[in-house]
């Protein structure tokens, strides 16, 4: 068990994101001009300490996947900094990034599209190891075998192609590929969302074991509050490109303050039919990211909004204990 984040204040910070902003242009018209911008990330800041697992939760289009991709530099942030172990990687070129890429890896959502269908498991992993020279050629086979064993695959599976595996097995291969270069930091983008419930538990267990064993630091992106709550030390709740609340996972049920977090909690399908009546349904829908509200992003659906909410976006204020909330109405 890793210690709760409150006790680990002295731990050095591995990842620090400062005021990250990402706009995607929408082009159109006669001369392909930029006609609109999607505000995918709006001034997002947070830190991840070594050995910590930070969850990011939110609905589709809230910017959680963009956040993961900005941190691993699949996207270049429009502005702001992504500091990895003391180095700002936000504007680095791919060439400069290469040594850092070995230290941070990603696990992807869709097991059916995350492996190259024309490559065997062995080639897939060998390629990555070869690129970063983490293992001498002579020890390559041994390393691959160990890796496969570690993620719960058979060694004779390595000559197979992705289509010969089930979804859960493919996800294990994806994990093996990410771990092949001995990274310190893993970004998991909805790693279990595409899997069946029984397989979901297997993969979560595997990730849990590996995290403990290898002392990994993780950013875990998911739309499923239950999974985040189960797996992570603390979580960011995102809405329309903004972080609306950050808190340790243990606080979520008792101390979640932001009205969106509370709504998300109550909407998440409970597994007890007796609680059916207690459901509070959040009305309305997420506004278009092309045209977000002027003030608080949640204002269109908020039950406790005031005049101020419609004009000013509340800052993400620290409420102590690693709990930050962006809401005017929460004291």
């Amino acid at each position: 068990m890793s210690p709760p984040p409150t006790n680990s204040d002295n731990d050095p910070v591995l990842v620090r994101v400062e005021n990250a902003v990402k706009h995607f242009p929408k082009r159109g018209g006669l001369f392909n001009r930029v006609i609109a911008k999607v505000h995918a990330l709006n001034d997002v800041s947070f830190t991840i300490k070594k050995g910590q697992v930070l969850g990011v939760v939110g609905e589709s289009g809230c910017g959680k996947s963009t956040l993961g991709k900005v941190v691993i530099r699949l996207h270049r942030p429009t502005s702001g900094k992504v500091i990895f172990d003391g180095t700002d990687i936000s504007q680095m070129s791919n060439q400069q990034l290469r040594p850092i890429r070995q230290r941070m890896q990603m696990i992807f959502q869709d097991p059916n599209s995350s492996l190259n269908p024309r490559m065997t498991v062995e080639t897939t992993i060998k390629e990555v190891i070869g690129l970063h020279d983490v293992v001498p050629e002579s020890k390559m086979d041994e390393t691959i075998d160990q890796l496969l064993k570690k993620v719960g695959l058979r060694i004779d599976d390595k000559m197979k192609y992705p289509h010969e595996f089930s979804g859960g097995q493919k996800q294990r291969i994806g994990i093996a590929r990410a771990l092949a270069v001995n990274p310190e930091f893993i970004i998991a983008d909805e790693p279990v969302s595409a899997l069946d419930v029984s397989i979901q538990a297997q993969v979560l267990n595997l990730m849990m074991d590996l995290k403990e064993e290898l002392g990994l630091t993780m950013l875990f992106v998911s739309h499923d509050l239950k999974v985040i709550d189960h797996f992570c030390d603390s979580m960011l709740v995102m809405y329309l490109g903004n972080v609306v609340e950050e808190m340790p996972c243990e606080d979520i049920h008792a101390h979640a303050k932001h009205p969106y977090t509370r709504a998300l909690l109550s909407c998440n399908p409970i597994t007890d039919p007796d609680q059916r009546g207690e459901l509070t349904v959040l009305e309305g829908e997420v506004p278009s990211p092309y045209d977000p509200p002027a003030g608080c992003p949640f204002v269109t659906r908020c039950a406790i909004k005031t005049k101020q909410c419609e004009t000013e976006n509340p800052p993400l204020l620290d409420r102590g204990n690693g709990h930050r909330v962006a809401c005017w109405e929460v004291e």
């Binding site: 068990m1 609905e59 069946d196 419930v197 029984s198 267990n205 049920h253 909407c267």
Partner: protein
Amino acid sequence: MPDEQPILKVRDLCTRFKTGRGIVTAVDGVSFELYSGETLGVVGESGCGKTVTNKSIIRLLPEHVTRYGEGSVVDYRGTNLLELKEHQMRAIRGNEIGMIFQEPMTALNPVFTIGWQIEEALQYHTDLSPSQRRTRAIEMLRLVEMPNPEKRIDEYPHQLSGGMRQRVVIAIALCCEPEILIADEPTTALDVTIQSQILRLMEGLKQKTGTAIILITHDLGVVAQACDRVIVMYAGQIVEMAPVRQLFHNPKHPYTKALLDSMPKPGRAGHQKRLPAIEGTVPSLFNLPKGCRFAERCGHRQNNCETALPDLIAIGNEPHSSKVRCFYPLGETA
């Protein structure tokens, strides 16, 4: 639980497909009843046959590769739907049995307004005049809680959000006042907050219209939230059928129990601990075990589980008591 006659009786439904690798039995001996006014959940992992079961009922499977078993009966008000001709089936689909599919994006025709699409269904199945049809379409949109239906009726699908599109799909499915509504993963493509809205809407509509709903889902949360009775399927067979409370509080089949256990629970007790996962994978339909299909992954298996296939047996004597396909149902032998 209603006491009247079931509106739909499925008896020993077997659905086989001809594939390049031989014949595969996707649904094997499924029997159940559906009563009006209830929501019957069909839950299971991908490939368990839950979608094929329901596509067999409305005969939406590609005819040239599909074969139904000898004794298979889908009895809807005294007619066996499996024996109907395609044109007879067309009069039932949409009119008597409505359908909602998973992907609201592709279930609507992008080149016609949503009003046109609702009116089309009405034109096909009713004798209403064009102006009556339009009035009815607006009524339907209001019924599914579409804001501002008079204006929205002339919009195209791409102008609507996912949740709104799913409301339109529901409106089309319900416009002919069907007796049965088959909803195949209606909320899987939607966000949780929208999912709650849609589930609440379906519950409200069921109470208003008395339509029986078959709700297919992989999500036990949706089952807990929306269903009255539940069928749990595994590798083409029903392994357990029970009222929803009983299923969640007192599961009889080891698979149901394991499925419930493997979900992450809120609360600190299990936080960052290993989940009790079901090891192994679902057996391939091309290579099914001789005995119980779950035996290989089952924590309670005994010797005879691997050699003989248990029947689906009722537990207790009440007419709607639960049924389980297990030699050693949980909470019985212990």
